[in-house]
Amino acid sequence: MCDQTFMAATFGPCDSCGKTGPLMNIYIKNEPVNYCSFCVEVMAYRGLQKGETLETLRQESDTLKKKLEEERGKLNDVELHQVAEKIEVVGALSIKTRRVLKGHGNKVLCMDWCKDKRRLVSSSQDGKVIVWDGFTLNKENGVSLPCTWVMACAYAPSGCAVALGDGLDNKCSVIPLSLDKNENLATKKKSVAMHTNYVSGCTFTSSDMQILTSSGDGSCALWDVESGQLLQSFHGHTADVLSLDLSPSETGNTFVSGGCDKKSCVWDMRSGQNIQTFENHESDINCVKYYPSGDAFASASDDATCRLYDLRADREVAIYQKDSIIFGASSVDFSLSGRLLFAGYNDYSINVWDVLKVTRVSILFGHENRISRVCVSPDGTALCSASWDHTLRIWA
């Protein structure tokens, strides 16, 4: 190759090869260096190779993805709804609004049931967190927080505390509940988790001692409540993680998470390893929920579909969609038996799907704005929905 003709402002030993000659003044990573023209050529060639590496990585990734699809496809011998053809159709449901919980001054962003099956906690954009008695509509506790974006809330298994995930100060805190109504609970707030971006979801594990959080920084983390120590972190998502759910099985130590990278991942809590990944949705996954048996999970997405994934078959087995449903689904939950899937949508309605036959059974109307969360009570007697219309509704 011929040397290019260039204006040599410097003459001396090359910084790279040491030969004396006319040098080019160039910048490598913002550092000025003087290279002879041969070394510049060599460097340009190497730079190209680096670019190629990115390409080869992508190609390898694509080939592996295709191989994964093939392997999964080999086991797809029959569709879920085909196997379910012989079972009885679900009869007409008599689910109606039984309670409307009013009290929040702004969008209700999240709610969770207590294990005693009657109390629930809800958090709202007005910074208030309220603990309700679902039967009597009594507001048992109310906490006003300085931040206005409590995106996630969870009840402790013992019923003695609630965890709150903050969207503004990126923390997850735990507040112990007291029977004394005059006590200012906000002062007892204890910060447990610290992320570098908003906390989108939080849940207690089997005891009050550990919390699992998901965050907009793309990671999930397991924390010890008492010390605030990070026990395990889970990396693998390439964008914000919006939701997580713990496996219901007693021996299971896994949880599933879904995020803006359209992927849902199943993780091993002890090792921090990503066990399985599913990339079928066409848009952000807003919510993931384990099936009552622990062998499957459902996800709700902005692409207006909900999908069911079987963990043993390692693939998507059903898509709950309809041409008439064009708004994103924000939240899902299963009924006690796992026969019904309740999904809240941005078109203000809740669609009830027959999980096995993959058909829609019913639509629940009532809310006047987007549904932010749906949650079935621990004994399966009621469904609670939280909405941007400032209310929660209990359906039974």
Binding site: T53, L54, L57, E60, L64, L68, L75, N76, D77, V78, E79, L80, V83, A84, I87, V90, G91, L93, S94, R98, G134, F135, T196, N197, D217, G218, S219, H235, G236, H237, T238, A239, Q276, T277, Y291, S293, D295, A296, D310, R312, A313, D314, R315, V317, S335, L336, S337, G338, R339, L340, V355, L356, V376, D379, G380, T381, A382, L383, I394, A396
Partner: protein
């Protein structure tokens, strides 16, 4: 954290994960679906939202205190 990683690092991470996943143990969909159906059928009679609960037993269906106008 995903936000701090360069494209190359993200791709490498995904590649590592894919390599692991190609080898996961999988079972056919048919038997798994049959299992799921058996599970559901077992719990179906006790599902309050499907079978319904009689009014006197359901805490939510109670009369919320009506008004008597005299």
């Amino acid at each position: 954290m995903a936000r701090d990683m360069s494209d190359k690092e993200i791709l490498k991470m995904e590649l590592e994960q894919l390599k692991k996943e190609v080898n996961t143990a999988r079972t056919p969909v048919g038997p798994n679906c049959a299992d799921t159906i058996a599970f559901v059928e077992g719990l179906l009679p006790n599902d309050p939202l499907i079978k319904g609960v009689s009014d006197d037993k359901n805490p939510y269906k109670g009369d919320k205190g009506g008004c008597i106008v005299t």
